[in-house]
C-alpha cells in the first residue's frame, strides 16, 4: 500500500460542515484514513500550517468535549492512542564506553531485588562517577547469587559483574570477600560503596576494608566535593551511637546509610555484563551455613514479619483462615473491622491506628482497602488481594488480585501447598 496521502477536498468540506446530511459518514471515512480521528494540524498546499480547532480534543463521557492540553493527545486521536505517548520513556540513555575510573557498588539485593537503600547508594555512586562530565566514571555493581531485578540499568548501573556461583549463597562472607579481593586486583575501582545495613553490606564492607588495609568510613549520610581531600570528596558520617557527626575526607571504602543520596531517575544506563578474567580463588571457609531455622511465625512481631496473611470483613471462615496461616507459615494480620468485631487481637491490626508493616509479601483476604489500611501497607513489596468486589481500592493497590470467594480460594491454596510438600516428602 502506498504511503501517499490523497486528499478529498469535498469530503473534508462535508466533514467540516456539521449540518450536512453526510457529515457523520464523511467524518468516519476521514477518521479511518487519518489513523483514528481527524487531523487537527496539517501543512497546507502553500506551505502554511492549517489548524482545525474542531479536531482537537475528544468527547468526554458526558457528551461534553474535553481538551487535554498535557500534550498526551495529538489532534483528535482516540484516547488509547495518547496513553502510549504518556508512558513513553523520556529518560536519557547514557552509555559510558571508556570510563576514566570505576565506582564499585555491592548492593544487598534483599530478596533478589534492589532495595531502597541499594537505590540510594547507586544514586551516591552516580554522584561520584558523574562529577566531571569530561571524564565520567562508570558504576560497577558486583551482584552475588541469583537475582530477579530487571531494572539494573534504570537504577544507574553501567557494568554488572554477576557472581552466581553456589558458594556465594547464604552467609558466605569469606567466599564473597575473596571475590571482592579479586575484583580489586583486576579492576582496581577508585571507590568502594556498600550499604551500611546489618548482615549485608555492613559486615562485608568492614571485612573488605580490613583486607584492603583501608580505614573505611561507616554510616555516611552526606558527601560534598572538596579539592583538598585525596579523592576529591568530604563526607559526613554518624558516630558514637548516632550522636556524633564526623566530617572527614572520603576514603576509598565507604559504608553509607539509607537516604544518603537521591536515587537515579533521569537517566538509563547500559548495565553491560562484565566478567573477571581470572577465576576467583576458592577461599577455605571456616564458617558453615546450616540454613535457616524455622521460627514460629506467630511469635514474629507484625512490624517486621516477612509474610503476612491478613483478614478483613470478607472472611467468614475463621478456622480456615487460621489453618491457612499455619500451613503457609505466615504471620497473621487483620484490618480494623476484623479486630473491632472481636475476631482478632488488637495487636494484629494493620493500618494507621495499628501497625505499619514492612512485609515482603502481604496477602490480603477480604479486605477492601480503606485508606488507613493502605497507609499501613505502604512499605510492602508485593501485595496479593483476594476479594469479591473487583472495584475496591485494595485491588488497585495489589500486584495480583483474585476475584472470588475467599474461603474457597484459601482452601484451594492450602491444598496446593500441602500437596506440594507431600510430594517433596515422597521424593525425599
Amino acid at each position: 500500500m502506498s504511503e501517499m496521502c490523497r486528499r478529498d477536498p469535498r469530503r473534508e468540506w462535508i466533514a467540516r460542515n456539521r449540518l450536512h446530511p453526510e457529515h457523520a459518514s464523511a467524518l468516519a471515512a476521514l477518521g479511518s484514513i487519518g489513523g483514528g480521528g481527524a487531523a487537527s494540524e496539517w501543512l497546507g498546499p502553500s506551505g502554511v500550517l492549517r489548524r482545525n480547532p474542531h479536531g482537537v480534543g475528544f468527547i468526554g463521557p458526558n457528551g461534553v468535549k474535553r481538551i487535554d492540553r498535557s500534550g498526551a493527545q495529538q489532534g483528535g486521536s482516540a484516547p488509547g492512542h495518547g496513553r502510549q505517548a504518556v508512558q513513553q520513556d523520556r529518560r536519557r540513555h547514557v552509555e559510558i564506553s571508556d570510563p576514566a575510573f570505576l565506582v564499585a557498588v555491592v548492593p544487598d539485593l534483599t530478596g533478589g531485588r534492589l532495595s531502597g537503600h541499594d537505590k540510594d547508594l547507586l544514586g551516591l555512586a552516580r554522584r561520584l562517577a558523574d562529577d566531571d562530565p569530561e571524564r565520567p566514571g562508570a558504576v560497577l555493581a558486583v551482584v552475588f547469587g541469583e537475582h530477579k531485578e530487571e531494572r539494573l540499568g534504570e537504577a544507574g548501573i553501567d557494568r554488572v559483574l554477576h557472581l552466581g556461583a553456589e558458594t556465594y549463597a547464604g552467609f558466605a562472607p569469606e567466599a564473597r570477600l575473596a571475590a571482592l579481593t579479586a575484583v580489586e586486583r583486576e579492576l582496581a575501582p577508585r571507590h568502594w560503596l556498600l550499604p551500611d545495613s546489618p548482615l549485608g553490606g555492613a559486615d562485608l564492607g568492614r571485612r573488605l576494608a580490613q583486607r584492603l588495609g583501608e580505614r573505611p568510613v561507616t554510616g555516611v549520610w552526606q558527601i560534598e566535593a572538596d579539592v583538598e581531600a585525596p579523592l576529591g570528596w568530604r563526607c559526613t558520617a554518624r558516630g558514637a551511637a548516632e550522636r556524633l557527626d564526623i566530617r572527614r575526607p572520603l576514603p576509598r571504602v565507604a559504608l553509607a546509610l539509607a537516604e544518603c543520596a537521591e536515587p537515579v531517575d533521569e537517566t538509563r544506563h547500559a548495565a553491560e555484563p562484565l566478567s573477571l578474567g581470572a577465576a576467583v580463588p576458592i577461599a577455605l571457609s571456616r564458617i558453615e551455613d546450616l540454613g535457616q531455622v524455622a521460627v514460629d511465625p506467630a511469635g514474629v512481631a507484625l512490624a517486621e514479619a516477612e509474610f503476612i496473611l491478613s483478614a478483613g470483613n470478607g472472611v467468614k471462615d475463621w478456622e480456615g483462615f487460621h489453618h491457612a496461616a499455619r500451613v503457609l507459615g505466615a504471620t497473621e494480620g487483620a484490618s480494623r473491622v476484623a479486630v473491632d468485631d472481636g475476631f482478632m487481637a488488637r495487636d494484629r491490626q494493620v493500618g494507621a491506628s495499628g501497625t505499619w508493616v514492612t512485609a515482603r509479601v502481604y496477602l490480603a483476604v477480604g479486605i477492601s482497602g480503606a485508606i488507613q489500611h493502605l497507609q499501613g501497607i505502604q512499605g510492602c513489596d508485593r501485595v496479593v488481594a483476594i476479594n469479591l468486589d473487583p472495584g475496591c481500592d485494595m485491588i488497585k493497590r495489589a500486584d495480583l488480585a483474585v476475584i472470588g470467594d475467599a474461603a474457597e480460594i484459601l482452601a484451594a491454596l492450602v491444598a496446593k501447598v500441602e500437596q506440594q510438600r507431600g510430594g517433596q516428602r515422597d521424593a525425599a
Partner: protein, 275 residues
Amino acid sequence: MRPEQQGIEMAVLVSVGRHPITGRARRADQDARGLELALCLEGRLPGSRIGLLHAGPRSEESEAALRGYLGMAADAGTGLNTLTLLEQPEGSDAIPALADHLSAAMPQLVITGTRAELGEGSGLLPYALAERLGWPLVNGLAAVEKVENGVATLLQALPRGQRRRLQVRLPAIICVDAAAPAARQSAFGPARRGELEATPGAAELDHELAGWQVAPALKRPKRLKIIRAASARDRFKAAAAKAEGGSGQVLEGVSSEQGAEAIFTLLHEEGVLRS
C-alpha cells in the same frame, strides 16, 4: 552416652557506654549482652573461664562503668571478680593493645558488642581483630547453641525475626547486637568488691581520628517528594493522585483452583513458602 563436656576459655571485650538520655557513663548495652551470653554459656559448659577485657584510659567515671560488668557475675558463682584493664592514654588506638593481649592469652571465643557507644563507634574493632589474628568472625549473634570439639554452633539473627544456624571453627570472634538476650541486672556490692587489674597497654595514638571534625549530630533532613513534571497538569495529578497500582494483574471469573495456582506461583517466586 553423654559427650564429654569440656570448658572453654572466653574473653569478653567490654567498653564504656553512655546512657542515651542522661549521658552518664554506664556499661554499654551490647557489651553487657555479650557478657550475658558468656555467663549463660559458662552455666552450660562447666569448667569454662571468662575473662573481661577493656582497653582505655582509667578514670573515676570509666571505672564506675566498668564495675557494672563485674556486678553481673555476682550470683553466677563463677569467681569472675577481676577485669583486665589495658591502660592507655586518652585518644589511643585500642586495636593493637587488644590484639597483643588476645594473641598472648589465646582464648577460644572472643565476644564483643557490635558498635561502641562512645568515640568513632564505627564497629570496626572486631573486624580489625579478626583480620590481625586470622580468626573467623560472625556478627549479629542471637545465641550459642553448643560448643563441641572445637566447633561452635551458633544462631545468627536475620532481619524480620528469622534465625540462621552457623557452625564456626574455634577460635572465633562473635559480635552480638540487640537480638541477643537482654543483660541481667548489675549488683552493686559485687561490683564494688571486684578488682580492676590494670596493666599498661600499647599506646599508639590514633592520629587520623584526631584530624577529623567531630560535632554533635545534626538532624538529618527529611527527604522531600520531588516531582519533576513538564506541565501544570502533571504536577496537579502528582499532588492529587490517589495510590493506584495500575500495573497489577487482576484475575476475574476464574475458578478458585486457578486463583490459588496464581497466588501459589507468586508466593513460590518470592520464596516465602518454607517447606
